[in-house]
Symmetry: C2
Subunit: 125 residues, 2 copies
Amino acid sequence: MKPRHAHHSEDCRAVSAILQRVGDKWSALVVTKLGAGAMRFGELKAAVGGISQKMLTTTLRGLERDGFVTRTVFPTIPPRVDYELTELGRELLGPVMALVSWATSNTERINAARNAFDDRSGPAQ
Amino acid sequence: MKPRHAHHSEDCRAVSAILQRVGDKWSALVVTKLGAGAMRFGELKAAVGGISQKMLTTTLRGLERDGFVTRTVFPTIPPRVDYELTELGRELLGPVMALVSWATSNTERINAARNAFDDRSGPAQ
DNA sequence: TGGTATTGGTAACGAATGGATACCGAGACT
DNA sequence: AGTCTCGGTATCCATTCGTTACCAATACCA
């Protein structure tokens, strides 16, 4: 039997790195929210719901660094900062939305599996 | 201007939970590897590359709990454990593979953006 | 004239999670 | 006997997460 997969370690690392970026608990959610158009910081925070300023700031910095969003500061008082998807970000939106819609429509199956698993191994334990 | 997004907080949590599961650094990678067919523990570990036993065990337990993989133990010595995607897992494979291939073919653009960002804000600091 | 709200962000700290290493068990092989 | 195998656990330490407090600068209000 030959190995079906060989020297793909490098691919794996790159893929893993990008999946981490987009899978780091908030990024995918933020990207989907920004899919509707530019939003300012507080708006985004309210839309996502349950995220702290720190985490939203960190997430947005990461997305900005990787070229998925732009950050526009209006030097007013109080300050106003707009975030918007770049071209790259809008391209990413496709696959991410596909995953999100799959996740949305399969939530119940997953929860059912989870409960079944917990019933099997949890209570006796 | 009305809010484009309203009471979606619950959706957000469910989606975020599932994205965490599949985006937790290793899960997506493991799922794609298992897409080629059943594999045993060590085989999977080698295929993924760079993952520790502990993390692979944890990841597989999580995937099993959520109904994405089955775990089959052969009580031989030394032990043999096979992992295989369930129907749910194979369905998940579609969106995940889409994301992975996007990630693979856009690695360079992301790295370019990252380097540009770091050049802008890193060195001067 | 001074107190307070607004908005985006940082600093600091404890909590949770991630990862590397060591070890285990039980038989086969030398 | 000693050693290798394979899947897994236990332990420890590093990194990350998340909460809270605080900041700046102006507008508003008493």
